[in-house]
């Protein structure tokens, strides 16, 4: 996430939190991909679900962190940068889109590419706004 250039250098524990979070998030994504296998040429359901649910959760998380009086400084690195960053993936989204196009299903590929972005953006917004409304 964009930060001003003047922010202090992160301490070692921020890297540990990001690394541990990234490992856990990646494992969750991998687990979901094993539970909901993706056959080539078909709509990549598990990656779609991963990215949309991860976007919903980042909306919830950022709303909570913004509302918190003094959130622990490792919460954002661990949960946001680490877990949700590791859980969601852009690279698999890109290669799955290509996979659909090269499998001779360009329209499914286009639909997947745009549906993921649309659902993900609605999810971030919904997660953020619902959390804010509930906390009021």
């Amino acid at each position: 996430m964009a930060e001003p250039a003047s922010v202090p250098r992160p301490r070692w524990d921020a890297f540990a939190a990001i690394g541990a979070g990234g490992a856990l998030g990646s494992l969750a994504r991998y687990g979901l991909s094993v539970a909901v296998p993706h056959s080539p040429g078909r709509f990549p359901l598990s990656t779609f679900a991963t990215n949309v649910s991860g976007c919903l959760l980042i909306g919830v998380l950022t709303a909570l962190l913004t509302a918190a009086k003094k959130p622990h400084r490792l919460l954002r690195p661990f949960l946001g940068v680490g877990i949700l960053g590791g859980y969601t993936t852009f690279s698999t989204y890109a290669t799955d889109t290509l996979d659909l196009v090269t499998a001779g299903r360009p329209f499914t590929g286009l639909a997947y590419a745009f549906a993921t972005v649309a659902a993900a953006l609605v999810a971030v917004y919904a997660g953020h706004e619902i959390t804010r409304a509930v906390r009021k």
Partner: protein, 124 residues
């Protein structure tokens, strides 16, 4: 073992994403999320190349778990991309939000295609 490699690659990818984002944003002092764009495009290119290798040559399962599932998945992110788009949009920078989404989609999928083509040329 697969689980261990996924976790290791994912952890390293996330740390590299954080470092890259900080470096790029400090360098390009702008409200446009260049850092996330960079990791998403680079990670897509790497995963495209790994996919090409997997299609044409025998790619060890270890490489797939560590680099494709772990590292590329940890390096790239959809959640930050989504949140940054929301920030641009609600911050009255709607044109920039639309541009960010369009550039990320086009550059990310394009980079994956280039990676795939290069790897297919090497391993055919």
């Amino acid at each position: 073992m697969t689980v261990l490699f996924v976790a290791l690659g994912g952890g390293l990818g996330a740390i590299l994403r954080f470092l890259t984002d900080r470096r790029v944003q400090a360098w390009r002092k702008s409200a446009f999320p260049w850092g996330t764009l960079t990791v998403n495009v680079v990670g897509s290119a790497i995963l495209g190349a790994l996919t090409g290798w997997a299609l044409h040559g025998g790619q060890p399962d270890t490489v797939r778990a560590l680099l494709a599932v772990g590292f590329c998945g940890g390096l790239t992110t959809f959640s930050t991309f989504g949140y940054e788009t929301l920030l641009l949009f609600t911050g009255k920078r709607r044109a920039r939000a639309v541009l960010y989404v369009g550039v990320t989609m086009a550059a990310g999928i394009g980079a994956a295609a280039i990676g795939l083509l290069i790897a297919s040329a090497i391993w055919r």
